[in-house]
């Protein structure tokens, strides 16, 4: 893999899209493109393979954050992955839909160490289980909590 640092070019988003399409055709759905931004939707079972490909082949070496969103009918997990060398400054956003009755997503913390605490946080606040995570324990809230405070079903007292 060539890791020389390059200056930004307008063609990068198309390049990334075609490389991902070549490898994961039919599994990845691109929802938008902007300067330095690529947005895509991926199914749960293909997530781990796509993330591994992003890091190993396209040198996306920094997982900035993992975001949980409660859409009421289903949940979503959003990953933001950045590049420091080959596509410098490029950020790819992966969105995964998770059905309410089966809240499981493969953990990417073995690929990016930076995803570790973000996944723990998403688990403790939304109850989305990250399969294969080394230590899925409560981080910000007390250990005695038995509910997931960031779900929409949990109302803020005094306001509603």
């Amino acid at each position: 893999m060539d890791t020389t640092i390059r200056e930004y070019q307008d063609s990068w988003e198309d390049e990334i899209e075609s490389k991902l399409n070549e490898k994961f055709s039919g599994k990845i759905e691109f929802t938008g493109k902007e300067t330095r931004r690529v947005y895509a939707k991926v199914p749960r079972d293909a997530l781990f393979g796509i993330c591994k490909f992003l890091r190993d082949e396209l040198s996306f070496e920094h997982c900035a954050t993992v975001i949980g969103i409660d859409m009421k009918d289903y949940m979503q997990v959003v990953y933001h992955i950045d590049n420091y060398t080959v596509y410098k400054g490029e950020c790819i956003e992966l969105t995964v839909d998770v059905p309410n009755d089966d809240l499981h997503v493969p953990s990417v913390s073995s690929i990016w160490g930076g995803a570790d605490w973000n996944e723990r946080e998403t688990w403790e606040l939304f109850g989305i289980v990250f399969d294969g995570h080394p230590k899925l324990e409560r981080l910000l809230t007390p250990d005695t909590y038995e509910f997931y405070p960031f779900r929409k079903s949990y109302k803020l007292r005094g306001w509603q």
Binding site: R36, H62, Y84, W112, G114, D116, L140, F150
Partner: protein
């Protein structure tokens, strides 16, 4: 200092660690867990670092955070957009302006509005004032952590001048409540341009006094050199951002590589060092302060060229159209990000904050592994802890 000198210094420090480890291995000692925090001189806030020590060598570590978790993101879901601005200030008291700027930028992205040029440059100046005072507070903390109280006093004295600039600009020292969705609250006051240039020029000289005091002290330097070494790959993989990342040789700064707020029209350098130890992180921050002065001067010149009557704030609608938007910003501590899911009402559906320290501190195990207990404060000081944004 030449690169091979640096390598030699690291090598000596490394071989010392190995020697002590070998000696302790000969002795029959039990491993012991030591709890540092939440009330501990090194912690700079409420958090705990559990370290497992084999004699003097740290063999395992586990950071514990969450004492300040107040459900910031949940609270934001229940407030109208403008009322979140003062809350964003409270995410980090040392860099309040950057967080408010970030929040306003996120909502502006969602509204699809272009902020007036003058407001953009005023925000740049405000951000850099915050970067300077945040780095100076970090420098003061490093001074006490490493046992040099004069550094603390001098850095705090320099910080006061920047706090005065904050007061001139927006009337408050810390939680400034200054940027607004669509611009900034007020124009720069009458003699602000004169004052800030004086302040900048004074600081560029005064900083060298502090640098001299640290770099001439062999005790100080030997506690930073060769400790807490991370390689470039480890650092990027662990999600560490900001000065700690640039201290390992990753040439990445959002201000230059993913420009926002007209940073691309300003000329500045991004300091990068390859050593990857505490000293490199310290040097990167010092150099960043000098670069911030350079940015402030250029941005003030641009503001002056725009004239007194240029617009600095737009009227914006209260409801934000449905969609998903995010913004990233180079905080003094690293890459901060806000992700907004809006549903067309006047309140956000979900607002996620990416805090740089939340991720940086999760890597503290890798940072302190293999070092001596006495080095732990020196290494963790280079993270520049801020618990308000970590726990949210």
């Amino acid at each position: 200092m030449a690169d091979d000198d640096k390598a030699a210094a690291i090598k000596t420090a490394d071989s010392k660690v190995v020697d002590i480890a070998a000696e302790t291995a000969k002795m029959d000692t039990d491993k012991m867990w030591i709890i540092m925090g939440p009330q501990h001189p090194f912690s700079h806030g409420l958090w705990t670092l559990k370290i497992q020590a084999d004699g003097e060598i740290v063999t395992d570590a586990e950071p514990i955070v969450g004492y300040l978790h107040r459900g910031w993101e949940k609270e934001a879901e229940n407030r109208p957009y403008p009322k979140i601005i003062p809350m964003a200030d409270r995410l980090c008291y040392a860099a309040s302006m950057t967080y408010t700027h970030l929040y306003c930028m996120t909502v502006e992205n969602a509204l699809g509005i272009e902020v007036p040029e003058k407001a953009q440059y005023i925000r740049v100046v405000a951000d850099e004032i915050n970067r300077l005072q945040s780095h100076l507070m970090w420098l003061a903390a490093v001074g006490t952590d490493l046992g040099n109280f004069t550094v603390f006093l001098w850095a705090m004295r320099e910080r006061e001048y920047w706090m005065d600039m904050n007061v001139r600009l927006c009337g408050a020292r810390m939680t400034t409540n200054y940027p607004r969705i669509g611009g900034v609250r007020n124009d720069t006051p009458d003699i602000f341009d004169r004052d800030i240039i004086r302040c900048t020029e004074r600081f560029e000289k005064a900083l060298w006094d502090i640098i001299g005091m640290i770099d001439d002290s062999s005790i100080y330097v030997s506690r930073m050199k060769g400790t807490g070494i991370l390689t470039r790959e480890e650092c990027a993989n662990l999600g560490i951002t900001g000065p700690a990342l640039r201290g390992t040789g990753v040439d990445f700064d959002l201000r230059r590589d993913d420009p926002y707020s007209l940073y691309d029209t300003l000329d500045f350098d991004v300091p990068v060092l390859n050593a990857g130890d505490s000293y490199a992180r310290y040097m990167v921050r010092i150099e960043e302060m000098l670069q911030s002065c350079k940015i402030i001067k250029q941005a003030m010149a641009k503001i002056k060229a725009l004239g007194k009557n240029a617009p600095y704030r737009l009227k914006v609608p209260t409801n934000v159209p449905a969609g998903r938007h995010y913004a990233k910003l180079e905080d003094p501590r690293g890459e901060s990000m806000m992700y907004l899911v809006s549903d067309g009402t006047d309140k956000p559906y979900r607002l996620k904050v990416r805090s740089p320290i939340f991720v940086n501190v999760s890597a503290s195990k890798e940072l302190v592994m293999g070092c001596r207990i006495a080095d732990v404060p020196a290494i963790m000081a280079m993270i520049d802890m801020c618990l308000g944004e970590t726990d949210r």
